[in-house]
């Protein structure tokens, strides 16, 4: 595979360091439920998860379901911007035990002062280890990847159950940090049915990644319960918990307990 960036390598190492069972990647929408909550939330998640995913709210999140649409809209209403997020992260990441992956649709990234050219340096300065861009397929990733890798920041590629084998092979070769294996066709926020076909697809992605010495494989979309996490043990290297975590915040619940519960441990 391609040589991972320093940031991508840090993320991969954190995922592989998980003891028993898959690593947890905990997602938060930056600025939800409030701007002031970000620091505490990241700290609470870092205590229970191997990797933190920080979502940049976008007005038109094409790959997201109702929950993340809601949290994004709420964050935008409070004036959350990518600039603010990077500024906050610069102060927070040195104290966090888990690496931070930034999730953003392409358009906010294009609007950073200096455009894509400066993206990598800005992310590196904020302590961001890797970036996920859900509307950036392999065919369009080059300028973003070039900017990030020049600054030692990884770019995560996504694969889906309907990706042709050739596309999966290309994705696992270039994905830097982890390969994001979407569990189902659809948007975020549902509940993934993890039948034999899905597990077979996920195992196939991991086999493809291992075959080229690629980054670990992390399953996301629709992960809500400890039963799902158990079913994925040994199949993938990690799981992403996003909408379930946002909904816990909406209920005023304890995200640390939610993450511990997913791991199957008592609270």
């Amino acid at each position: 595979m391609s040589v991972p960036s320093v940031g991508g390598e840090r993320v991969a190492r954190a995922i592989r360091s998980a003891g028993s069972g898959p690593a947890l990647v905990a997602y938060v929408t930056a600025g939800f439920p409030s701007k002031g909550a970000l620091a505490g939330l990241l700290g609470a998640c870092a205590a229970r998860a191997e990797v933190l995913e920080v979502g940049v709210p976008f007005s038109d999140p094409m790959a997201d379901g109702a929950t993340i649409q809601r949290s994004s809209r709420a964050a935008l209403a409070q004036g959350v911007t990518l600039e603010w997020i990077l500024g906050e992260l610069a102060g927070l990441t040195p104290g966090l035990s888990a690496p931070v992956v930034l999730m953003s649709y392409l358009n906010p990234l294009l609007n950073l002062p200096g455009g894509l050219g400066g993206l990598g340096a800005r992310c590196a300065a904020a302590g961001v280890s890797a970036v996920i861009v859900p509307d950036l397929p392999l065919e369009e990733h080059a300028p973003v990847r070039a900017s990030l890798s020049a600054a030692g920041v990884g770019l995560v590629q996504l694969v889906s159950p309907v990706s042709a084998p050739g596309r999966v092979a290309r994705a696992v070769r270039v994905s830097d940090g982890f390969t994001y294996a979407v569990t189902m066709t659809g948007v975020t926020g549902g509940r993934a049915g993890l039948g034999g076909e899905v597990l077979g697809y996920l195992a196939g992605v991991r086999e493809a990644a291992r075959g080229v010495g690629g980054a670990p494989v992390v399953a996301g979309f629709g992960i809500r319960g400890a039963d799902q996490v158990r079913a994925l043990a040994g199949v993938v290297d990690g799981v992403i918990v996003a909408s379930a975590l946002v909904e816990e915040l909406e209920r005023g619940g304890d995200v640390g307990a939610l993450l511990a519960g997913l791991r199957g441990a008592g609270v």
Partner: protein, 479 residues
């Protein structure tokens, strides 16, 4: 990096001819407009990456990539299949009523050219089956959907015209159809919602986002992501990821082909200007394509100027936007400094969209077409003139084009302007009734631009003359 990754990087960065560098940076002026136009005319654009110069591309979730690639292949194969092309044309004649006529609007010509002898010529797409040009693309894509072997069709709609057209085409071809429509538009275009339901389509009122066309497109894409293998998404505008802008333009180009030869037959020459309204830009791109190679024909797009030039007051994307990525393509976009898409406003649902087709962004960039905002009141004034002087009730969308034609005649009183009258206005009756009720007792609209044409002379040339002055000053002020 591995060799494979290196090739990918070089492919877009170097081979893309500087396109990658433009992504996210300021858009430099076009260095070679003639050369760029030549690439479009020769078919080199859209290129293999779906780009028209710096615009276009395919920025969609990975889950849709397989469906997009299948669609691209199927479309290329279909267009190379004479039987398919003949079938589109034959159904166009028998079912849509093509060719739609071109006529000289003598009364509007007299009223709007101020005695200068200029002419307004109308391409009557409002006479197409279901009442608008949208049917050209809906029929073509429904036939394509059948070729793809999908089990069902989804579509978005703003004013409801594309939804009605898709519902009709799917009814004829026996395809189940679901239409996503913003809840705001469901309320303001009620007659079309009923028509879609009568034609057998399921109409989903979209409550997310801004609850207009943009939210409907968001939701249709989300639904396609849920079931990309068995569903075809009939996108109605010249927007979205490649190959949608190419497909929509191809099926709408019949407008421009017909209009050019009809104008030559009727006038003995080409018009000096061709005007169409632009939201996403499907009627305009099909219309403009008939004249792209005729350098003497000025191409003008009328964008929705809404109620003003401030943020959220309009939907004039090319006039006030910057390059950005929305709904799968890199194009001009109404967005804030941080890349968040802005809310829009227009009296007509069909133009109420913060993006624009990438080929329009390209035509503006190379200077081949020019785009001007037309405010609600000015469009209403043109609509009123068209009703009273020509006995034609145009939709609010092409009323923006009519208003821009009036402006153009104000600048060129002896010229000939061809307007694509892309739809009829029956669907707009609820909005028109409200606009009439809201009108001040002196007969003038809220800000007086043209809408009050009836104030001085309720019927006939007097109404039109008032409109000319209003239009000319509004035009100067906005640009």
């Amino acid at each position: 990096m591995s060799a494979a990754a290196g090739v990918e990087r070089g492919g877009l960065g170097a081979g893309g001819g500087g396109v990658a560098a433009m992504l996210g940076g300021a858009l430099p002026p076009c260095a070679d407009p003639a050369g760029e136009l030549g690439k479009l005319l020769s078919g080199a654009y859209p290129d293999a990456g779906g780009r028209f110069g710096p615009f276009g591309g395919r920025f969609v979730p990975e889950t849709l990539m397989g469906a997009m690639e299948r669609l691209e292949r199927a479309f290329a194969e279909a267009m190379a299949d004479a039987a398919f092309v003949q079938s589109v044309a034959a159904q166009g004649r028998a079912w849509i009523g093509r060719p739609t006529p071109v006529m000289v609007a003598e009364n509007l010509s007299r009223a709007w050219s101020g005695g200068g002898g200029g002419r307004v010529v109308l391409k009557r797409e409002d006479l197409a089956h279901t009442g608008a040009h949208k049917i050209n693309n809906a029929l073509g894509q429904a036939l394509l959907a059948r070729r793809l072997g999908v089990e069902r069709v989804i579509a978005e709609t703003g004013a409801g015209q594309h939804g009605v057209a898709t519902a009709a085409a799917c009814a004829r071809l026996g395809l189940p159809c679901r239409v996503y429509m913003g809840a705001v538009d469901v309320a303001r275009q009620a007659p079309n919602v009923q028509r879609m339901r009568w034609l057998g389509a399921e109409v989903v009122a979209v409550q997310s986002g801004d609850r207009t066309l943009r939210a409907a497109v968001d939701e249709a894409f989300r639904e396609w992501v849920r079931d990309p293998e068995r569903t075809h998404y009939i996108l109605g505008s010249a927007i979205g990821a490649h190959p949608f802008p190419l497909i929509v333009r191809t099926f709408q180009s019949v407008i421009g082909r017909e209009a050019r030869s009809q104008a030559l037959e009727l006038l003995g020459r080409l018009p000096e200007a061709a005007v169409a309204c632009v939201g996403g830009g499907s009627n305009a791109i099909g219309f403009f394509h008939g004249f792209l190679g005729d350098g003497q024909v000025e191409l003008l797009g009328a964008e929705a100027g809404g109620v003003g030039v401030g943020v959220g007051q309009h939907a004039a994307t090319i006039a006030f936007g910057r390059p950005g990525v929305l709904h799968g393509c890199h194009s001009m976009l109404l967005q804030d400094a941080h890349g968040q898409v802005q809310d829009t406003r227009s009296i007509c649902a069909g133009l109420d969209y913060p993006g624009v087709g990438p080929e329009h962004a390209f035509l503006s960039w190379i200077g081949r077409a020019r785009y001007e905002p037309v405010q609600d009141a000015e469009a209403l004034g043109a609509l009123e003139d068209c009703c009273r002087l020509e006995g034609i009730l145009p939709a609010l969308e092409p009323s923006h084009a009519l208003a821009l034609a009036r402006r153009w005649l104000g600048r060129n009183p002896s010229g000939t302007v061809l307007v694509n009258l892309c739809g009829r206005g029956d669907k707009d009756m609820p909005i028109l009734m409200r606009a009439m009720e809201a009108r001040a007792p002196d007969g003038h609209g809220a800000d007086g631009h043209g809408a009050g044409a009836g104030g001085g002379g309720p019927v006939g040339a007097g109404g039109g003359t008032v409109g000319v002055g209003g239009a000319a000053s509004a035009g100067g002020g906005q640009r």
